[in-house]
Amino acid sequence: MARLSRDEIRSIVIDCVSEIAPEADFDALKPERPWREQLEIDSFDFQNLLAAIETRAGVTVPEMDYAKLALFDEMLDYLEARQAA
């Protein structure tokens, strides 16, 4: 899979979140606060989200790294960096 740009990753994540939570308002997201709470993504939703991101972006997130996805930008950073791995 070709390396994805930051914008491509961002749009994949937004697509995948919107599939689970179509009401999610990304414009209202406060970047300095945990995004899952703001968008009401529970543990079940989160697992499904990571599975969808894996399918779309080819990036797997091991359980140990979930804490690195707390802020929305952190998640994008992580996914971007993780592609290379």
């Binding site: 939570a21 945990p34 543990s43 804490a67």
Partner: protein, 584 residues
């Protein structure tokens, strides 16, 4: 699956060492007399949980180790929690809140939540917890039924979930908020809790509540109609104490972590009351489930007794045992689980991951406390919910023509699980619904609505629900509440909601809808409905899947046949369809 045997030394060390002997000698009055009580034969949960220990000279002991989402760690002593909850009781008093008024709490696991719950109990109020993943509609419905006088919440939850429905909640006199956002202004119609607490006295003479005075209101769901408010009284603390000791093997030296949110009955009875009454130290983690974080907490905090849920265990199991085995759990000695039947693989996964089996137990909002359990000193039959607690008589009952029931004496017969009424934490009412309450009892028996069987050795095995209630991640969800929210969408003509089996959460909420004339099924509409339901109901109640169909199966009287929707979803035989309306 092989029986997990318990060794003789383990049995001797357990609180409930000899199950059969203690069952015979057990007496609720003995437990009651080990509590303080209040003058004039009074009894108050918060007194037993806090002030009793402080008066006995244990005020310096740590009641709570609070772990913040971003790494903060705060130790709160029994004396500090007692003083803080006294400040809250005084705050209620200053606001003119009366004994018997209902105080709702809606917050994540922040220290103020615990302070408010215990303080409201001190003031003689009825406490009703709301899960923070509820949306505005479940919140408004419950506050309305409970006629909430006070709501304690955070500014962000208030803005998102309460402000949109506040107009319909005339009963609410006061909304007390904890700031958790950066908005300079408080939401209109709210008071900031912090300054009120600071201004209040840390001394408070606890209301001399009677044992039968209402204390806790837990909402639960039925197949039809609105959520039911199961009302519990202060006397329930007798059962919290006994069951915490017997089924969780807890004592005052334990570091206890109950992972359930206080928005649900488990998080109230065992995430707050039982461990504090016993005098243990409770661990509270503000963050959501994260396997790695949980392993770290178990290790770093030296948790000795851990009470969790099948959904969390199954999520951990997905990562195998590597994650757990990278840690040491030297203090951990007992693990229990509740919420839905724990599959045998999960019971034994505990042995592989932690060196300890996981002890399943069974109870519900109505029972107020653990009723059937696997004990530290009793062999485990993986997949079984165990045996009834001392003081609890459980039976499988057969329904008789004429409306009565009788216990089934032969083993391995499936039937409704029933409990002999009269234990201290039995619910005393469904609020404002006497008829619904009365229907739960036949003769001496409380009928649980769960189907089970009892084997020849007295172990109980869960079979299923007797009704259409959905159990997702251990929480009951009423299909009617979900259907009603969907019906509010202009495109929806009919809605039928079922629990679709799921390997991780037990069941997920799945909705089927048929559209009104003039609306076309499309992916865009499906998503709109999903978002519509999530916004109103919140992620804990909203459907995870929605299917748009041309029409839904109905009886001739027009009732949607959820059973048939479920059978079709699962590809099962459709069963008796004689009442099915023929489509024209």
């Amino acid at each position: 699956m092989e029986i997990i045997r318990k060794s003789a030394p383990a049995s001797r060390a357990a609180v409930l060492g000899d199950y059969d002997a203690i069952r015979v000698s057990f007496d609720w009055r003995g437990v009651r007399s080990s509590l303080d009580g209040l003058p004039g034969d009074g009894l108050n949960i918060a007194h037993e949980a806090l002030d009793r220990h402080v008066a006995a000279g244990h005020g310096d002991r740590v009641a709570m180790r609070w772990l913040g989402r971003s790494g903060e760690r705060r130790l709160i002593s029994y004396a500090a929690l007692s003083a803080a909850s006294a400040r809250f009781a005084n705050t209620l008093s200053a606001l003119g809140v009366a004994r018997g008024d209902t105080v709702f709490v809606l917050a994540g696991r922040i220290p103020e939540l615990y302070v408010a719950i215990l303080g409201a109990l001190k003031h003689g109020c009825v406490v009703s917890p709301l899960f923070s993943a509820f949306g505005p509609e479940p919140i408004a419905t419950r506050i309305g039924i409970g006629q909430g006088r006070v709501l304690v919440t955070t500014t962000s939850l208030y803005r998102r979930k309460v402000a949109p429905v506040r107009d319909g909640l005339d009963c609410l006199s006061h909304v007390l908020v904890v700031r958790d956002d950066d908005e300079p202004e408080l939401p209109a119609g709210t008071l900031e809790l912090g300054p009120l607490l600071d201004a209040a006295s840390p001394e408070y003479a606890i209301a001399a509540t009677a044992p039968e005075d209402p204390a806790l209101l837990h909402f639960t769901s039925g197949t039809t109609g609105k959520p039911k408010g199961a009302l519990h009284v202060h006397e329930a603390v007798v059962a919290h104490l006994a069951t915490g000791r017997f089924a969780l093997d807890l004592d005052a030296a334990d570091v206890f972590w109950c992972t359930a949110d206080p928005g649900w009955v488990t998080g109230m009875s065992y995430g707050i009351i039982a461990p504090l009454v016993i005098g243990a130290t409770l661990v509270v983690d503000e963050a959501e489930f994260d396997a790695e974080r949980w392993y770290r907490i178990l290790e770093d905090e030296g948790v000795s007794v851990w009470y969790t849920a099948p959904t969390a265990i199954r999520m951990m199991m997905r990562g195998g045992t590597t994650g757990a085995r990278a840690h040491r759990f030297d203090n951990l000695r007992f693990i229990a689980s509740v919420g839905e039947p724990l599959n045998p693989q999960a019971v034994t996964w505990g042995v592989e991951a932690f060196g300890l089996p996981i002890h399943d137990n069974w109870w519900q909002s109505e029972t107020g406390g653990i009723m059937i359990a696997n004990y530290a000193a009793m062999d485990i039959r993986p997949g079984s919910m165990g045996k009834p607690l001392p003081g609890i008589d459980a039976a499988i009952v057969r329904h008789l023509p004429g409306g009565g029931v009788e216990p089934v004496t032969e083993p391995d017969v499936e039937g409704e699980l029933a409990l002999r009424k009269g234990w201290p934490s039995m619910f005393r009412a469904y609020l404002h619904e006497d008829e619904r309450y009365a229907k739960c009892f036949v003769g001496d028996w409380y009928l649980t609505g769960d189907l089970a069987r009892r084997d020849a050795d007295g172990y109980f095995w869960f079979v299923g629900r007797a009704d259409d209630v959905i159990k997702s991640a251990g929480h009951l969800i009423g299909p009617f509440e979900v259907e009603s929210a969907l019906m509010e969408h202009p495109a929806v003509a009919e809605a039928g909601v079922i629990g679709k089996p799921d390997p991780t959460v037990g069941e997920v909420v799945k909705a089927f809808v048929a559209l009104k004339p003039g609306f076309e099924a499309s992916e865009a509409l499906r998503r709109e409905l999903l978002g519509f339901a999530r916004k109103r109901l919140g992620p804990a109640v909203a459907p995870k899947e929605i299917d748009i169909q041309a029409s839904l199966p109905k009886t001739r009287s027009g009732k949607i046949m959820r059973r048939l929707l479920k059978a079709r979803e699962l590809g099962l035989p459709e069963g008796d369809t004689s009442t099915l309306e023929q489509s024209s």
